[in-house]
Symmetry: C2
Subunit: 293 residues, 2 copies
């Protein structure tokens, strides 16, 4: 399940509570389109803002609606004890894989980071994807440290930050030198999907795919088949959305607005302290959505 | 309670559970010495790593042993809903004030930060200290934004990061321009206490004071009375400890080691993923402790 399009849906809220109906509507778009896998409770799924009880319910609902599509579940938390509780919950609810970031409060040493992954991996019964996302977690993982972690038998993939085109191939090659061959790489940061996949990443861990699975799948297929014209056309179609991500503090608030515009969830579906986009930003998002599916 | 020495004790663990007996031993040092106030569940108190239930118990135990010394309680969390629950718990358990950081996962806008403080302050019944600690929270609070937040009637103080001596007076003066006169400033970052207090901060929000209250109180008094020789002597005595903070990833791991050396808690009292210091670091800490009380 660590290749192709892994779609990361929102966890929409209604008055700050989990909005199950809206979540099911979003999931249906992904299962109907036939994404390769689901990434439940990723950053787009607001894992960091949800209680243990909320997360357990999100995974249960996702499992009930995922059909045969495998499901990876984010289990990040600042305290190791809490991560272990979330691992247990996710596995009990039917997670096929876990997405594991290293969250931080006190700055951490490489030894502490490695010991954390080692301990959690001792307690898992499904494969684990290492989640490298310094923008949100503020943890920098050197390539060598990623290599040490990836040598743990449970590790199956690494979700890496976006790579701009000129450096992407070098970057992927440099990182791969540290990794066992069984460990796949997946690019995140939607605007860099094409560069990442062309540089040899096996997966696209995709926010865009969590709401627009059909164009995202079409993009993966165009890249895979070497269809340069179709790749360029799809990138052009998606570019206004990605410009919104860049302009409005990342993808989450933009995708939440887009989902509301599609009638899938409330206009205010984000967990506080996050606020929904204002009117002007919403107009730009609305215009970026034209033609996306 | 927002002036003088506010002592921030560890929350020691035993096998990853709250070690009540060790916590009571540490508190007794602080009440015996007569610190001006207590800062329970600050960064040194590992608030970010403890569950709601653990934090509630920590505050209850602190209240039972604080005597007449006022007690500020940290209520930080990533989700606003969780902060509101922690506020309720802390107030029910007898907190005299709250210490409120803006924790982040998704990078936040100034509007989101202000709206967060506004919402939480609407729900509090005790004064609030704004906690500015970008090293751990990764939230940068511009002076103007701190001014907007400080204008909320509940805000009584700001815990600011350490200030090096040459810039401290300018820095404090610049920030004060944005603040109502009722709002005090408290310096954190122990190595900068003297510079901060000499620059006019009313409080020292002190890690050092959470384990070595007598030298910390002596330092505050020496600065207040303008005793230059005694200030210099105390700074010299404390300097080796502060060098350890600088060398070993901040104050927390060093103070936890020091507390263990004093027989107050386990050698391994930190919440995972944090690890206790290794042998070599412990030798340096041991040597830094000579003569401290």
């Amino acid at each position: 399940m660590f290749s192709g399009l892994c779609a990361f849906p929102l966890t929409p809220l209604h008055q700050q509570n989990f909005d199950e109906k809206a979540f099911i509507r979003i999931l249906a778009r992904l299962t109907d389109a036939g994404v390769d896998s689901l990434g439940i409770l990723g950053s787009t799924g607001s894992y960091a803002y949800l209680s243990r009880e909320q997360r357990r319910r999100v995974v249960q609902v996702a499992k009930a609606h995922a059909g045969s599509i495998p499901m990876m579940v984010g289990v990040g938390a600042i305290a190791t004890n809490e991560v272990l509780r979330l691992v247990e919950d996710a596995q009990e609810a039917g997670a096929d894989a876990l997405l594991l970031p290293m969250m931080s409060y006190q700055p951490l040493s490489a030894e502490e980071i490695f010991a954390f992954y080692e301990e959690v991996c001792r307690h898992v019964s499904v494969p684990v994807c290492l989640y490298d996302n310094p923008r949100t977690t503020h943890v920098m993982l050197a390539d060598e440290l990623q290599g040490r972690i990836a040598a743990l038998p449970a590790i199956a993939s690494i979700k890496i930050p976006g790579l701009s085109a000129p450096q992407a191939s070098e970057r992927v090659a440099a990182l791969r030198q540290h990794l066992p061959s069984r460990v796949t790489l997946g690019v995140s940061g939607d605007a860099w999907a094409t560069a990442g996949l062309q540089a040899g990443c096996e997966a696209w861990y995709s926010v865009c795919g969590g709401l627009f699975p059909r164009c995202s799948l079409a993009l993966v297929r165009a890249i895979r088949s070497g269809d340069v014209a179709q790749t360029a056309a799809l990138n052009e179609q998606l570019a206004p959305l990605w410009r919104c991500f860049d302009r409005y503090g990342g993808s989450l608030r933009v995708i939440a607005s887009a989902a509301a515009m599609l009638g899938l969830c409330d206009p205010d579906s984000l967990p506080r302290p996050l606020l929904s986009l204002g009117e002007e930003a919403c107009r730009e998002v609305a215009s970026a959505l034209r033609g996306l599916a």
